[in-house]
Symmetry: C2
Subunit: 339 residues, 2 copies
């Protein structure tokens, strides 16, 4: 039994830089037609030169694979319209991080003063640049995203023409916000569809499943599944695949991030099948919805998955993937670049 | 400035066995006058011979220190009155684990059928043997203890003469149960007084703060602080200090347990002082209450703490303690065995 996915897109992807980029870029580029590349490098990607240079480093790392790096800029409230016009053609979106909320986000936004953000966000509205947001407050770890929904709603009301993407949502409350505001969208990772906090900390503590936002409660996961499996038109797949070297995960202070790029499509195929969701829904979740939301035309790529057990490697270039050493039921059979 | 504690007791302690026991027993025996020793060895301590032999191994590991190992038996519903009478003098309590809920608890209780438990628990009531319970269901990790409170209440009602100790409580709900049933008591660890889930998983993931029950929400910690700092007469200090080798904590699946034995009293001294709680309250929390609840007379020991920074070692015999490498404000100045 096989399953064909056309031009799958990963609308939230960390490719890192330098050696790590060279090591892991292929894991995404092999099976995805494109990905929205997060800008939280050190220093963050925040000028035209940096975007272009980073894009070129990514293209070099990808080599011959068919893969579009959809670039993003690290949000700063100092960006003015002239600057944004100058970078418009180089970027697909701008990513906003609350200051200090996750890996390399120190230069992010502190407080969400609408008037302070207004010039930049209005310019983005006018230029049609979507705003991607890591939506967490600095509150208690299980409440951070739910608390941030009020900020999403404030932004959505204040800038009704701005497309706002709630990144890697993990809660029922964020899912509910989707239908309250026309201009709110969301990405969902594969790991948040598969796990709850129980998987991270309910048995042994599992550093390789530790991420930000942290996996939440069973009822939250169910809400995510509902919109993902139905390919709710405002929801897109974004892996948030985030590689860290093994030693940075298995240590006395483990970095946040789950590396799913090489197994994401296989796991999604299994998940959709198990839940009786159609191939069309999966196609919409991993490509069609993003195409419409971002108004992009992905490069043609055909990924053939087959129902054949795949033993996930323990490591990909020193990075432990999700389900390392375990068997998953779908494999990548073939990938055709082009039509 | 110094502070004297008399005969401090640790009413929930894992000393393990063999090499680990030899390595870490002194860490408790140096500053505590006694400890309630958990029976979850492999196999669990469940016969008179095993209790006596384990006690002797502990006494050997302790060497010349003044320290009473208050022994416990691993609860089984097959224990009858004759058996319990035969072990009465060797034990201070019996510890009940729900099956599979924590380290080495596979042989514990499945389901809590009062009628199945009745013969053993009635015999314990009659013989005045307290029941210590690891109170967690197999539900969602943040709900397990709160869900178990209904079982505590069922047990407390069904066996009103049985002293039931809710071990290492972590939730507001358990604190509230204390005042509802005359025969419910509790131990509280030092780490649950210091941390919430935020400390475990809110920044980096901290395997050395991972334990069962997992640290909960800020309002839960506040409830624990309220009764500990006031030395609520039904509450005792029990460290649940649980050593694991460093590699078992810093790995792809980290074992549950926080090693606090060598720093517990110092951290408690700082905590009580910071919160304006008196030395008398601390004395009651770490000794007086347990003495009354268990009707025990601890060996005389005088522990002098002084307000002098102490840099916590990175390792004690291969075990990473809580606050490893950090500076705490109190040190152990002197310990006098005897009066």
């Amino acid at each position: 039994m096989s399953l064909i996915l056309h031009s799958p897109l990963d609308m939230h992807l960390h490719l890192r830089d330098e050696k790590m980029l060279e090591n892991i870029a292929q894991a995404s580029a092999h099976t995805f037609s494109g990905g929205l590349i997060m800008p939280n490098l050190v220093p963050p990607v925040s000028s035209k030169e940096e975007i272009v240079a980073y894009k070129n480093r990514i293209l070099k790392a990808i080599g011959k694979e068919t893969f579009t790096p959809y670039m993003t800029l690290f949000f700063k409230s100092t960006y003015d319209k002239t600057f944004l016009e100058s970078v418009r053609d180089e970027i697909t979106a701008i990513k906003l991080y609350p200051a200090g909320i996750t890996t390399n986000s120190e230069g992010g936004v502190s407080g969400f003063d609408i008037e302070e953000l207004r010039p930049t966000l209005e310019a983005m509205s006018e230029l049609g640049i979507p705003l991607c947001v890591h939506g967490e407050t600095n509150g208690f770890v299980m409440d951070r995203e739910a608390e941030f929904v009020a900020i999403y709603e404030k932004l959505a009301s204040a800038f009704p023409k701005l497309k706002i993407i709630m990144e890697h949502i993990t809660t029922k409350k964020s899912v509910e916000a989707l239908d309250k505001f026309e201009n709110l969208y969301a990405t969902i990772t594969v790991h948040h569809l598969m796990i709850t906090l129980d998987d991270v900390a309910g048995g042994m503590l599992k550093p390789h499943l530790f991420c930000k936002p942290i996996a939440k409660r069973p009822e939250d996961r169910e809400a995510l599944l509902r919109v993902a499996l139905n390919a709710h038109p405002k929801v897109m797949f974004g892996s948030d695949s985030a590689p860290h070297p093994q030693h940075a995960k298995e240590s006395c202070g483990c970095a946040a991030g789950v590396f799913t790029a090489p197994i994401a499509l296989q796991v999604l195929a299994e998940l959709f099948e198990k839940n009786g969701a159609s191939q069309e829904k999966l196609q919409a979740f991993v490509c069609g919805n993003a195409q419409k939301i971002y108004n992009i035309t992905p490069l043609p790529k055909k990924v053939v998955l087959e129902k054949k057990p795949f033993k996930v490697p323990q490591l990909y270039s020193g990075v432990v993937p999700m389900y390392a050493g375990e068997e998953i039921t779908y494999s990548i059979k073939e990938v055709y670049n082009g039509r």
